[in-house]
Amino acid sequence: MTEEIIIAGFGGQGVLSMGKILAYSAIMQNQEVSWFPSYGPEMRGGTANVTVILSDDRISSPVLRVYDTAIILNQQSMDKFESAVKPGGLLLYDSNGITRKPERKDIRVWKVDAAEEATNMGNKRIFNMIVLGAFLKIKPIVQMENVRKGLEKSIPARYHDLFDMNQAAIRRGEEIVYQEQDYSK
């Protein structure tokens, strides 16, 4: 199994930390991982993205042109990465701030209204965990048990009281995500 993922959105949405939690979860189940972020002016300009690869085998390139999954959290990222999903691949997006919906017909499109749900749940910072839950519902590539361990490893100890809330957010993401389009074969 190899899963090549791009997660892209605004800086501050938790894009990088979501990737890190995913990567740590995979380590907990003995997989190989790589995590490569955008850094520098690109981030300071407001957009952030990270390439996360999980695999049973040694990972070759940590940077890619096409992906199995694109998790898209703003319009700039939609414009940049919709075309980078492999045919038959997955595009998961949050509709908040999206002005142009995905147009490709040869990919699977799922939607999660995570920003809205985070507001409903009373904590905007769990936004990225709702998205993570949505992704893991569609592709359960890491076990929930290992996600919990991944959270423990990647969240600083002073935030450990937020575990329950993070896990609730992951479960909520699993519940509210829905498929907009299957790919036409």
């Binding site: 490569f36 070759s60 390139s61 940077v63």
Partner: protein, 355 residues
């Protein structure tokens, strides 16, 4: 099983330094390697092992602190990125001339000048052909993973002490900024036994004075010193060459790439194999000494070589020297901080060599 951690390449260098038993780190911040010192400061190595970590006032000061501390026989290091490494060149030349062991880490960014902060491999010439003035060489290791960022700190210190010569880890912003799984080796003692006969820690009555200098105004003695240095570099060429081969047994075409480019090239090789092209990959691990012999051998077996570098083509000169025009050697690279994609590498291989 040793401890597993998800780390950035720069953090792995820092943790590697502590665990390899480094005595001191002197540095000055610069993107994309600032996490090295940030991590060291946060870890309080003075509590963990007694290691000194100091932010100097400049890169010039850092390398001269390394020079001074190395003279006492301590395991000392610095790290920087391209423009900062340029500033250190005078000091590096002095250290090489004075035959002192130390580790210099260059997490390369795009140049020339202040350039950009994105990944690049355009400092190959500087690292492998001298960099500063005079006839000297560094031992140059090129890690291609976060694990190797950690492991090569141990290796670089060992080689630096074995040859009493500065060693360099030549990385780049891609390996420095990415996170991967790292298996952490246990803590190594800070003070280990090695030949202390040359150190300047105070003369004892039972021996002559030790002198550490790169200056000798007598040309005949200076020439003798240079011959001695060259013999040392020749010994490295014989004993320290390291490389990794991927699917070269049946390869018709060969990719040659180091560091982050070798990872990208490995993917290009896999994509090519899926399309039925027999592509192999040679990844030099030591850039000095350069793996000449294996290249000579592979050149007799493959029909063409593509060198992939994030530069205008620097390592390709060493590849061409090794291959002696037996087969075509082409270059593919991106510059100024742009990173090539595996697809681009494969497309170039097909266009330039296979078709």
């Amino acid at each position: 099983m040793n401890e597993l951690k998800l780390m950035k390449g720069n953090e792995a260098i820092a943790e590697g330094a502590i665990r390899a038993g480094a005595d001191a780190y002197f540095g000055y911040p610069i993107t994309p390697q600032s996490e090295v010192m940030e991590y060291l400061m946060a870890e309080r190595p003075e509590k963990r092992t007694g290691m000194v970590v100091l932010q100097a006032e400049s890169e010039v000061a850092s390398i001269n602190m390394v020079y001074g501390a190395a003279g006492t026989g301590k395991r000392v290091m610095t790290s920087s990125s391209s423009p900062g490494i340029s500033l250190m060149q005078e000091g590096i030349s002095y250290i090489a001339g004075a035959e002192l062991p130390c580790l210099i880490v260059n997490v390369v960014r795009g140049g020339p000048g202040l350039g950009t902060i994105q990944p690049s491999q355009a400092d190959y010439f500087q690292a492998t052909k001298g960099g500063g003035h005079g006839d000297y060489r560094l031992i140059v290791l090129a890690p291609a993973s976060v694990q190797e960022m950690f492991d090569f700190v141990f290796l670089a210190f060992d080689l630096a002490f074995k040859y009493r010569n500065p060693a360099m880890i030549l990385s780049d912003g891609l390996i420095g900024q990415m996170m991967e799984k790292v298996e952490l080796k246990p803590q190594r003692p800070r003070l280990t036994e090695f030949d202390q006969s040359w150190v300047t820690t105070g003369k004892t009555p039972d021996r002559e004075r030790n002198i550490i200098t790169s200056l000798d105004l007598d040309p005949a003695r200076q020439e003798k010193h240079n011959i001695h240095l060259q013999e040392k570099y020749d010994r490295m060429r014989k004993e320290e060459v390291r490389y990794e081969e991927f699917m070269t047994e049946d390869a018709d075409y060969l990719l040659v790439a180091y560091g982050s480019s070798s990872r990208i090239s490995q993917k290009a090789m896999q994509l090519g194999r899926e399309q039925g092209y027999k592509i192999g990959l040679l990844r030099p691990i030591t850039l000095f000494p350069f793996p000449v012999e294996i290249l000579e051998e592979l050149a007799g077996r493959v029909r063409g070589i593509l060198c992939v570098e994030q530069s205008s083509g620097q390592m390709i000169e060493d590849v061409r020297l090794a291959v002696h025009d037996q087969i075509p050697v082409k270059h593919f690279g991106r510059m100024g901080g742009m990173t090539p994609s595996p697809e681009e590498v494969l497309e170039t291989m097909i266009d330039q060599l296979i078709k």
